[in-house]
Amino acid sequence: MSKRHVSAIVNGDAVEFLTDPGMTLLDALRDELDLTGSKEGCGSGDCGACSVIVDGRLVCSCLMLAAEAQDRRIETIEGMAQGSDLHPLQQKFLEHAALQCGFCTPGILMASKALLDANPDPTETEARYWLAGNLCRCTGYDKIIRAVMDAAAEMRQARVS
């Protein structure tokens, strides 16, 4: 089985890697690029722990082939903070105690970022439906939703001022 060469932009940096034709983007990120922040909870697109943003769209990286990443711009949890400044969502997740075990957190943060990129002023219901593809078994979602709504409000405020 010959490997395929892939060039992509990951978290703003040009990267290259070799992939088997059947390798998922998730496995490429974790095993080839050492970006283990994206997690595998199911491998079938049901849990969202592997959520990343590809060319502005939220995807389950376990459902995308690594070979399809050619020339794509990929954002993962490792690229969310700007240097040592946490993204407002990351900061609000900490302040609201919106994580317990933390395993689903990278995926939920990426999904939340995709939400706020598309809709800076979501209702609680919109946030709940947007995040319905990301399972969390620890929190009951209460504090996650509060953190997302609070981050959205703060980001809107920052845009105005």
Partner: protein, 762 residues
């Protein structure tokens, strides 16, 4: 011992405990840096994979792995023959006793495969693809046997018997024949017949629940390395690194001293990671191959071969006077244990009536094996199942007597001095306070619309203490490190750091908590049983108190005064000796900087066996709306009150309650193991085994009731398990209120609700 913690008036002076600081491991967890079980890679590591039985019950006639071994890239193959046969031995680790022989046979089948997914062989290879190819080359000849899944079917006299050596324990006479009934237990008080004779009304019901999985999002994962000198290293995600060490040693026949287990971050456990599945196999593969071996389960593996908790059939009969006084209760619980004995029916029996003061009752529990995965602990093991039955019956009783459901529970509720149904006399409990919190919460008096209903239910869990070790080290700049042996499953690093900071009198940011490997801290029982903040917290507090005593002694050396002339206040030593300038101070930083000259590093370790964990009670109210077209149940509002003793970090206590509620709502509405006619699990994935998602739930209001536990330095009681006990019945009672029909079989899925509505319409 120290002035900092004057127990009598500790509460008003708390500066850190009860606040909501950012968790110390938070930044790593929101940036993807935290290393979970599958995130570690070792140089030269191989991939380990498991071949699983496709049959629910089969004799393993032969296993031929010659072709697999010959495949290029395959470095090791192990089967049951590679593991020692263990005697029937119970390991009492303070956790639920586990029979080590059963544990070993669950890790790797020997002569029989007992459920679909039971491991029968494992391989290590240079890649996942080669490992998968090797699995396909292993030839297993099975003689398929008749199987049985459902608990009452497994109890029948003509049921296929899983273990020909199993004779029911706990009967008056030893039975003549083996069966699938491992044990009967019975708790009784008073005169049941007299109790029912004195009753004005009697409620009876049969209740059914299905097996459900803990559903942690992180699949089991580990890396194991067996070096040429016999030294073994294991990195794994579990609820207890010492538990992993003990079980690996037993299953493989190793010396404890040759095994070191390092805990990875754990991506949820809920009881399901209180045992081992992969670690002994990874070690055996590493021994044979000479390479480190990494094993990661798929979600399919997790569903088919780990967890779940029992499915059940239960019978409840309650008798009461017209005024609501309970006179008698007859409760029978039949729990699936899975392939080996050991369902949580004992705890189910002990908790079933624990909220009530009843003069006459009999509780009978049956522990029954059948051809499904061996059950693992799941959050308050056994209690939510029993509470579903009893709290549903209590709701029917309240309805029949036309008494408010909270008032009925208050009237019969246990309080201090009352003898618990499981024996001892209650002290320092807060059940009535918790009922009062729900009675007065806004949701309880909110008006309901059409197709809406409201349900109330209560729940109880013991909480446990146990063996823990903690160390506190003062760094040379006056900051502190707190080391424990308990994996942080939901924010316990924060509570450990906060308790230490409180005693030391420093800001919590000055204290770094860490979770150490088995070679770097003394023994600690696993994180479970709601014990960590209570028991390990007690060790942390005592270690910090020893450090404070030492700091006072060092200050006394520097000032050349008697140590009783030095007090510790707000992180500073203060001199009280009038001869040497009263009020002179030394900071922690100052003392730490001079510690070399005053006697060396300042550090203390405490190992203890914490006793007297306070039992916890929860009362929940749930509002639902039914869609009469589809039968879909929407949870509109939910409030959960719980006696938590003292919330160390209130946000994470609320989080425990909200998370327990969410799991309980899933159990009530959606979750169940579904088996096909061959006994294979049909829904082994998150698409078909549906756990609650964000859009399924409303905000969950958590009310923290604080009735202090005098045994804990700050009054804490365990909180993690109680909140999953009431929701099953709270949801079912709300559905009863909405549709006017009592639903007795979980989950309350749309087809069942539709059928109930159709039957009601006639």
């Amino acid at each position: 011992m120290t002035d900092v913690l004057d127990r009598a008036d500790a509460t008003p002076r708390l500066k850190v405990v009860g606040t909501r600081p950012i968790r110390p491991d938070g930044a790593d967890k929101v940036t993807g840096r935290a290393q979970f079980g599958a995130d570690l890679t070792m140089p030269g590591q191989l991939v380990g994979k498991i071949l699983r039985s496709p049959h629910a019950h089969a004799r393993i006639v032969s296993i031929d792995a010659k072709k697999a071994r010959a495949l290029p890239g395959v470095k090791a193959v192990v089967t049951g023959a590679d593991f020692p046969n263990l005697a029937d031995e119970f390991h009492e680790g303070g956790e639920a006793a586990s029979n080590l022989r059963d544990l070993a046979m669950n890790v790797m089948a020997r002569d029989k495969a007992l459920y679909d997914g039971h491991a029968v062989a494992a391989v290590a290879a240079i890649s996942t693809a080669v490992a998968d190819e090797a699995l396909a080359l292993i030839k297993v000849v099975y003689e398929v046997l008749p199987h049985v899944i459902e608990v009452e079917a497994a109890m029948a006299s003509d049921a296929p018997v899983l273990h020909p050596t199993m004779f029911t324990e706990g009967l008056d006479e030893r039975p003549a024949l083996p069966s699938n009934i491992a044990k009967r237990n019975r708790i009784a008080r008073g005169d049941l017949d007299a109790g029912f004779a004195a009753a004005d009304v009697v409620i009876e019901g049969r209740y059914v629940t299905q097996a459900v999985h803990q559903g942690y999002i992180e699949p089991h994962a580990c890396v194991a390395s067996w070096a040429a000198d016999g030294q073994c290293n294991v990195w794994s995600s579990s609820q207890g690194q010492f538990m992993v060490r003990t079980y690996c040693a037993k299953v493989l026949g190793l010396e404890i001293s040759n095994i070191r287990v390092t805990p990875a971050e754990i991506g949820g456990g809920f009881g399901g990671k209180t045992t081992v599945y992969l670690e002994p196999l990874a070690l055996a593969l590493s021994r044979e191959s000479g390479h480190p071996v990494k094993m990661v389960m798929s979600r399919d593996d997790v569903f088919r071969a780990t967890g779940p908790t029992s499915g059940s059939v239960m019978y409840v009969k309650l008798g009461a006077k017209k005024d609501g006084t309970l006179t008698a209760a007859d409760v029978e619980l039949k729990y699936q244990a899975g392939a080996f004995a050991g369902s949580p029916v004992g705890a189910g029996s002990m908790t079933a009536l624990a909220c009530y003061d009843i003069a006459n009752f009999v509780i009978t529990g049956w522990d029954v094996v059948s051809n499904c995965p061996k059950v693992a602990a799941y959050r308050a093991p056994g209690a939510p199942i029993a509470a579903f039955a009893v709290e549903s019956a209590m709701d029917d009783l309240a309805r029949k007597l036309d008494i408010d459901p909270i008032a009925l529970r208050e009237q019969n509720g246990v309080k201090n001095g009352v003898k618990a149904s499981y024996g001892p006399t209650f002290a320092n409990i807060g059940y009535l306070e918790t009922l009062a919190a729900i009675k007065t919460c806004p949701q309880y008096s909110m008006p309901l619309g059409p197709n809406q209903g409201r349900g109330v239910a209560a729940g109880f869990w013991f909480n446990v203490g146990g063996e823990s070790t903690a160390a506190v080290h003062i760094n040379e700049d006056g900051s502190a490190v707190v080391v424990t042996g308990n994996p942080d499953i939901g924010g316990s690093r924060a509570s450990m750091a906060m308790m230490a900071a409180e005693v030391l009198g420093v800001p919590v940011e000055q204290v770094r908590p860490m979770v150490a490997d088995t070679a770097s801290i003394g023994f600690s029982m696993l994180t479970g049983g709601s014990r960590t903040t209570f028991a390990t917290g007690m060790a942390v507090v005592q270690a910090a108190e020893k450090v404070v005593a030492e700091l006072r002694r060092r200050a006394a050396v520097i000032w050349d005064v008697a140590v009783d002339q030095v007090v510790w206040a707000d992180g500073v030593a203060v001199c009280r000796d009038p001869a040497k300038a009263t009020g002179k101070t030394l900071t922690l930083e100052g003392l730490a900087g001079q510690s070399g000259r005053t006697g060396g590093p300042i550090s203390a370790q405490v190992s203890l066996n914490a006793q007297g964990a306070g039992p916890g009670f929860g009362v929940h109210v749930c509002d639902v709306e039914i869609d009469p077209e589809t039968g879909h149940v929407t949870v509109l509002r939910y409030t959960a009150a719980q006696d938590v003793g003292k919330a160390i970090h209130p946000s994470y206590v609320e989080g425990q309650i909200q998370g327990g509620v969410a799991q309980g709502v899933g159990w009530a509405l959606n979750e169940e193991y579904i088996f096909d006619r061959e006994g294979r699990m049909e829904n082994a994935g998150f698409l078909d085994y549906r756990v609650p998602v964000a859009s399924d739930l409303p905000m969950i209001d958590a009310i923290l009731v604080e009735v202090a536990n005098p045994r804990h330095p700050f009054g804490a009681k365990g909180v993690g398990e109680v909140p999953i006990v009431p929701p099953l019945a709270a949801v079912a009672n709300a559905v009863r209120s909405a549709i006017g029909v009592r639903m007795t079989e979980l989950p309350l899925s749309p087809p069942k609700i539709r059928a109930a509505l159709d039957a009601k319409a006639g």
